[in-house]
Each structure stands twice: as C-alpha cells, then as structure tokens.
C-alpha cells in the first residue's frame, strides 16, 4: 500500500495552506490560465521576463493540496532561472511524477521539488501536480486559450 504520507508530505501541506507568490502580477508580460475539467482546478500563472530570464512569477486560483502546493513551489523554483533552465526543470519534474525517472540523481535540478516524488504512486494525481507547470509553459509560449489537462 502506498503511504499517504509519501504523497501528503509536510512541505506540500504547508505550501497548500500558505502558497508562495500567490498574487496577481499586473505588469506581467506573459499570462495563461490552466484548467482541469475533471476536478475543476483552475489556476492563472503570471510571468515577467527580463530578456531570457524569469524575473518574477506568480499564480492565483483554486485547486487541491497537490496542485496548489505544486504551483507554489514551482514559482519558487523557476524564479530567476532562464527559460531553458525552467523547461529543463519541468522535464525532470514530469519524469519524476510520472514515474519515468527517479528523483534520486536529479536532486541538483529538482531541489525541493523532490517532495513530489510520491505522486508517481498515485497516477490520478499526476495531473494535479503538473497543472501549474503546463500553465507556465503555455504562458511562456504566449498561448491565448486556457490550457487544459484533458
């Protein structure tokens, strides 16, 4: 049996209760909305770029503990990174939560995000963990339509 505490780690619960960078960025030059039609989770991600670097990133919306904490920790991990670095982190994160690559060995890139490694034991929750990331990706690509997990 998968242990619930592998999924709901303290760091995750703490971020879901007190999400970081939870605000609108009125001056954002990139913005996208992400939506999971199955559970109704909905987030808006705001990005301000400085050349190739993510100068500021924030989010707002509603969702479960996994999606909200993932969004919160995502903003912390990509702030100050270049676009290429951010994409690389998303790639590693995605591999980790889908169980395609263990967190071990990728700690240097993933940092604190390794707390989400337990998600791979709960396949229906992968979409929760990746919603904000897909939304960030859409924001940076300049997509106008809301990105959907379906």
């Amino acid at each position: 049996m998968s242990d619930l505490r592998d999924l709901y780690q303290d760091v995750i619960l703490e971020h879901s209760k007190t999400p970081r960078n939870y605000r609108e960025l009125p001056a954002a030059d990139h913005k996208a909305e992400g939506f999971n039609p199955l559970c109704g989770d909905r987030f808006t991600v705001y990005v301000t770029l400085d050349g190739d670097t993510i100068r500021d990133v924030s989010f707002q919306g509603s969702g479960c503990a996994i999606s909200k904490s993932s969004a919160s920790m995502m903003t912390q991990s990509v702030k100050g990174k270049t676009l290429a670095e951010a994409e690389k982190i998303f790639e590693r994160f995605h591999e980790m939560v889908t169980g395609h690559a263990p967190a071990a060995g990728n700690e240097s890139e993933l940092g604190k995000l390794t707390v989400f490694s337990g998600v791979s034991e709960f396949p229906v929750r992968v979409k929760c963990a990746t919603l904000a990331w897909h939304t960030l990706h859409a924001a940076l690509e300049g997509k106008q339509d809301a990105v959907s997990t379906e």
């Binding site: 049996m1 998968s2 619930l4 505490r5 999924l7 709901y8 619960l13 209760k17 199955l38 559970c39 109704g40 989770d41 909905r42 509603s62 969702g63 479960c64 503990a65 996994i66 909200k68 709960f122 229906v124 929750r125 929760c128």
Partner: protein, 424 residues
C-alpha cells in the same frame, strides 16, 4: 432472460422478515463487494455515479452470449427467435417497472444522456422556434443542460433556469413564474445527482401542463431509489440509465407518450427503424423501432431486464427505505464532525450526501478515503453551474445503494477523521 427464468428469480427470494432488506444477503449477490482495496474491505459509496452489478445481471449477460447470441427482429432461425423474445421481454419488464401504458413507449437508448438528446433533437427541434424558451432548473446535470443549449443556439431560443434555495430545493413559485407563453418545453431532473434533492415533480408537471408545456424528466437518479409511475406523474418523457439501477453500462430507457413519439421525426437513420426503403423515399417503422436504428445493445437490454427484475425481487420500496435510513444516519454522524459542511439539505432527499471539509479540497478527501478502501466521488459532479450557485469548486459525495450498511457509514466517518488528521 425468459419470462419463466424471471419468475424463478423472483420466487427464489423469500420476502425478508419485517418487509425490510436482508442486507447481508443482498451483499452476497454482488461479487465485486467481496474484494479488498488497498488492503481494506471495499466500501463502495459511489452509487450515484454507477451502481455495482448483482450476479443475476452478470449471469444474464453471460447466458445470452453463451446460449442465444443472434441479431434480433430479422432472423428466421432459432437463436434469433430466442434473442428477440428475451429482448422484447426486457422491454415489458421496463414498461412495468415505470408503469408505462404501452411497451412500444419504451425506447432503448444508451443511457439518460442519449434519451435527453433524442428528445432535444427530435421533439425539441420540431417544436422550438426562434424566440421560444426551454425551462430547466438550477440543479441539472450537464446532460440536461447542454443538449438544450445546443438546441437553443440552433433555434435562436432562450434557455431559462428556475432557481433553488440554499438548501438545494427548487423554488416552485419561481418555476411557475418562468412558465410563459414562449415556454415550449420544461426539462427537469427528478432527483439531483449532486445534492440528492427530490423535486416535487408531480406538482411541477401539473404547473407546466396548465400552461400547455410538455415536460421531459431526467430520472437517472430517481429510478434506482423510488417507485416511479409515469402515468401517475403524467410526464411526457422520462429517461433513465441502466447502470445506475444495477444494470450494465451503455443501456437505458426513454419513455415517451405514444402520441408524441408517433408525431416525432426519427433520431437516427439505419436498419431496424424503417419499414421500406427506396432511393426516393423511406417509410419509417412503427414504435418503438422507429427510434432504435441499427443493431441495439442486445446483451445490455437483457442485462437491464435482469437488473429491474432483481430490484423487483428486493422491492423498490424496501431499497428506498433502507437507503433513507442510511441517509438519516449518515447525515447525523457526518454533519457532527467539526469542519464538515453538508451541501444539499433539502427536506426531501434521496441517498446522496454531498459535503465539504473546511481547508481540504474534495480531491484530497477522495484520495485519502481511497487509501481506506472507501470509494466516493469528488469533483463538480457534472454540475458546474450548481457548484457556482453554492460558491464552491467541488464537493465530496457519498451515495448509497441497497447493499450499503451503517458500518460502512462508520468507516466513512473514520476516513474523514483520517483526512482531518492529515490536514490538521
């Protein structure tokens, strides 16, 4: 299932003492309930999504495929004759189940969703004109919203929505006020899937008919839990899904009054729904075949017949009383948990308990309960406008069936305790 076999099934089950349900025996009829999930006994409380299937239904389907599989209505051979007889026997079982006047008023569809779409695309399309109105309620499932939106968009008509109160009860006066000269149809749910509210359907139909407005009823959440009598209701259409009433998925029933069905254009063209075809002109088959184009889900129909026969054996009144007892108990013990708020507290309710826990998203409730072997539904229950009405994105929903027990409600309460522990 043959008539003789149906009788046998019903006779084999002695009436339980005291008129109630022998729940232990009911549970033994459902093979799936014997399993463990994540090492815990399965507690299946997602019956409003789909019910489990008794052995009698599974066996009827296997018997059909092993012993009488053939296409129906056309074959002159032995197997086709048996299959046709069993298929039509299930139609009569469904007719009796909802007390429809005639067997030809029972049309087999894929489920309630297809039943509603059929009415919208045939009856609705012919009747609704630009500037007209279709009336629904604020507690409809998406399947009783979207088909009417599509129709209204196509016709330049308007969709009107009768409001509900904070308990999740229809405001009957407002419903009556919205019935006007331009109202061409009312499409209403009998029981709300997300809240469990039982609508005052008979009164709603009387009000609509007083304005000359026909009424189509979504009965998906009512048929498994209460005696439905379409003649007593005097509804014009009534539809339900087989899979929520212990039958297979992919099959359901649309009842319509003969005169309306006769006047309606067909829904889909194809085999079985014609009486003659030339390249110049086709004349359509008589009811109900006019609305059953193509080879139908024969096994599904036979399985549905077996399911309704099974329910008759238990007694729908007994099932309803048992579920009501569970609902009353669950309402009491779940609402007593600190931080829990019930969504949908109508006076008249079927066995649905929708709730939210302060500070915990329903999706997380669902995952934690699942680890305890408890299956509930979490999300918007295909009722997003209703969730908006209550200002919440989603709820957790436990829903009861004949085989559920008070001990399972206790397991739910312990599970919610675990949720609160994790999120403390």
């Amino acid at each position: 299932m043959t008539t003789a076999a149906r009788k046998l099934d019903a006779e084999q089950r002695p009436a339980p003492i005291g008129g109630g349900l022998d729940v232990a025996r009911v549970r033994a009829d459902f093979p799936i309930l014997q399993q463990r999930v994540h090492g815990k006994p399965l507690v299946y409380l997602d019956n409003a999504a789909t019910s489990q299937k008794p052995r009698a239904v599974i066996d009827a389907i296997v018997r059909y495929y092993e012993g009488s599989n053939a296409n129906i209505h056309r074959g002159v051979h032995y197997l086709s004759e048996i299959a046709t007889k069993d298929y039509e026997a299930a139609r009569r079982t469904a007719q009796e189940f909802i007390n429809a006047p005639h067997a030809h008023e029972i049309i087999f569809v894929r489920g309630a969703t297809e039943g509603i779409n059929l009415v919208a695309q045939t009856f609705g399309r012919a009747r609704v004109q630009p500037g007209d109105e279709v009336l629904i309620t604020a507690m409809e499932h998406h399947s009783n919203i979207v088909p009417w939106q599509i129709l209204c968009d196509e016709k330049g008509a308007k969709l009107r929505v009768a409001p509900i109160n904070d308990q999740g009860e229809l405001l009957l006066d407002e419903f009556a006020k919205l019935l006007g000269r331009r109202t061409k149809l009312a499409a209403v749910t009998h029981v709300s899937n997300a809240l469990g509210t039982i609508n005052p359907l008979k009164r709603m139909i009387e009000l609509a008919h007083a304005h000359g407005v026909p009424v189509a009823v979504d009965g998906a959440q009512a048929v498994p839990h209460m005696k439905v009598d379409v003649q007593a209701l005097d509804c014009d259409f009534y539809t339900f899904s087989g899979h929520k009433v212990y039958g297979p998925t992919g099959i359901g029933v649309l009842y319509g009054k003969s005169a309306l069905l006769e006047a309606m254009p067909p829904y889909q063209g194809g085999g079985d729904m014609i009486s003659s075809v030339t390249f110049e002109k086709t004349s359509y088959n008589k009811l109900p075949y006019k609305f059953e184009a193509g080879t139908p889900d024969i096994a599904g129909v036979i399985g549905l017949g077996a399911a309704l026969t099974y329910v008759n054996g238990l007694g729908i009144g007994n099932i309803g009383a048992h579920e009501h007892d569970l609902l009353v108990y669950a309402t009491q013990v779940v609402s007593a948990i600190p931080g829990v708020r019930l969504i949908g507290t109508a006076k008249e309710k079927a066995g649905v308990l929708s709730f939210v826990i302060e500070g915990v998203h329903p999706h997380d409730i669902g995952t934690i309960l699942d680890q305890e072997g408890i299956a509930i539904r979490t999300g918007h229950h295909c009722s997003q406008p209703l969730m908006d009405r209550f200002g919440i994105p989603a709820t957790a929903r436990a829903s009861f069936a004949a085989y559920n027990t008070r001990e399972e409600v206790d397991a739910l309460v312990r599970g919610i305790g675990k949720v609160r522990e994790v999120f403390a």
